[in-house]
């Protein structure tokens, strides 16, 4: 009788504790399940977001620059791609909450994160090649307009000294890194044209026929070097395009 009473007392005492423990365990399991589900969703979303960003960037390039009938202004097309990139990659597609980031210790998760980072880097690399190319195309357009204006203004020169000053002015020439080789060549050509006009002015002042004839020859020689600008521009442009196409291939 005494033993029975003792057992009943113990059971009464232990029963609520077990319930609590079981309840807590169940809650923990649910929380773990939810966390695992959210983790899975987050990583899947990240992976999808990264893939979508890359493929939409590729589509943007294909539709603007790879069209069968290309648009007339490639610089504007590049700017459209850059704008698309800024919009898509405005927030880093590989960013993930700290609550889940620790999971990269798991090889499979690490791979997702690494793949995302690689895809982002590839997209950034493409944009990094397109930005200087766009700038180059714009600089090229404005520089050629400057030279064309000088050619037009000195079509029938009467004031040689003024023509020399006009050709000497290269302050409006772009000095951006991608355009520098072309800018240097332009400066070389315009300096020789300016020097020829200065020599014409000096020969006129001195009424020196021989010097006048030499200056005319020098002017013709200087003008004949204008196509060299196009040679350097094409070389520079081709190198920039090669880099861009290589970066595109890696998308």
């Amino acid at each position: 009788m005494k033993i029975k009473q003792e057992l009943t007392k113990r059971t009464r005492l232990k029963h609520p504790k077990r319930v609590i423990i079981i309840t807590l365990a169940a809650l923990l399991l649910i929380a773990l399940g939810v966390y695992t589900f959210l983790s899975y969703q987050n990583w899947t979303t990240l992976q999808q977001r990264s893939q979508d960003a890359t493929s939409s960037l590729k589509k943007a390039v294909d539709s603007s620059l790879g069209a069968e009938s290309p648009a007339e202004d490639p610089a504007a097309q590049i700017d459209t791609i850059i704008a698309h990139f800024n919009k898509t990659y405005g927030t880093n597609p590989c960013d993930i909450s700290n609550a889940y980031s620790w999971q990269t210790i798991l090889p499979a998760i690490k791979e997702i994160k690494t793949n995302c980072a690689t895809r982002s880097a590839t997209a950034i690399a493409l944009i990094d090649t397109l930005k200087p190319l766009s700038q180059f195309l714009k600089d090229q357009k404005s520089a050629s307009a400057l030279i064309a204006a000088n050619i037009e203004a000195t079509k029938n020169p009467s004031d040689y000294a003024a023509a020399a000053t006009l050709w000497q002015d290269t302050t409006k020439l772009s000095e951006t890194a991608s355009f520098k080789p072309v800018a240097d060549k332009i400066k070389e050509v315009t300096a020789s044209i300016s020097a020829a006009y200065a020599a014409l002015a000096a020969a006129s002042k001195a009424e020196d026929k021989a010097a006048f004839d030499t200056a005319i020859s020098a002017l013709q020689t200087a003008y004949a070097t204008i196509p060299n600008i196009n040679t350097v521009a094409t070389e520079t442009q081709t190198a920039l395009i090669t880099k861009a196409v290589e970066a595109y291939e890696k998308l």
Partner: protein, 228 residues
């Protein structure tokens, strides 16, 4: 189920492998070709602009300034014997005449006096010494012998009776005689009045106007020279 002979089974196997290969390879090669096409199009599109190619490399035609096309004849001024005419004045007036816009400068030439030598010598000579230059020169008139353009001091100071009778001024006579004798040096011979009007500068206006009116400057028809 159809039963196949061993040879048929081998053939079917090869066809199966080829088909499988075709199924795998053809789409990949098509994809690869499409990729190449799009890359080519991208490159072509980016290379489509060559604004520098349109720039003209032909230098502008430089018009020759007036000083360039003008031929400059140089001459020195001197006197021979005792002259009434002042040499400095003779030099100044002769230079004015030679470079006058109505004169031989219309040939595109300029005349520049130099200290000595030059293309020709302009001499103010004592009348009695004129014949010393050539048997064709007389004390009455001025003349040209080779590179010497000799002005008779008497004519320089008084013009000629014919000229004076026609009402010509001394300055015009001086213009005429310098132009006339320099005209000989430029390659001109004498001309004659034909049907009135202005006399040619190469007419012997000092002697007789022959019905023409006096004229110190070369006419359009006289604008040529064997010296050019």
């Amino acid at each position: 189920m159809v039963s196949l002979k061993p040879s048929q089974r081998v053939a079917a196997g090869i066809m199966g492998v080829v088909s499988a290969f075709a199924l795998l390879v053809v789409p990949f090669s098509a994809l690869s070709s499409a990729e190449t096409d799009i890359k080519s199009r991208i490159a072509a599109q980016l290379l489509s602009e060559h604004p520098f190619e349109e720039l003209s490399s032909a230098a502008p035609a430089i018009a020759k300034p007036k000083w360039y096309t003008n031929v400059t004849f140089t001459y020195s001024v001197s006197k021979n014997g005792s002259t009434s005419g002042d040499l400095a004045e003779f030099s100044r007036l002769a230079n004015e005449t030679l470079n006058d816009a109505r004169g031989w400068t219309r040939l595109g030439v300029q005349f520049k006096e130099v200290a000595s030598g030059g293309n020709f010598r302009l001499i103010l000579a004592q009348a009695s010494l004129m014949s010393s230059y050539s048997s064709g020169c007389t004390a009455d008139w001025s003349c040209n012998v080779g590179n010497s353009v000799i002005i008779n001091d008497d004519r320089w100071m008084n013009a000629s009776p014919s000229w004076n009778n026609a009402g010509g001024t001394l300055r015009d006579y001086r213009n005429m005689v310098v132009n006339h004798e320099t005209g000989h040096w430029l390659g001109h011979g004498h001309t004659f009045c034909s049907g009135g009007g202005k006399a040619t500068v190469m007419q012997q206006q000092s002697i007789d106007l022959q019905g023409c009116t006096f004229n110190p400057w070369p006419l359009e028809s006289e604008l040529w020279s064997t010296r050019l």
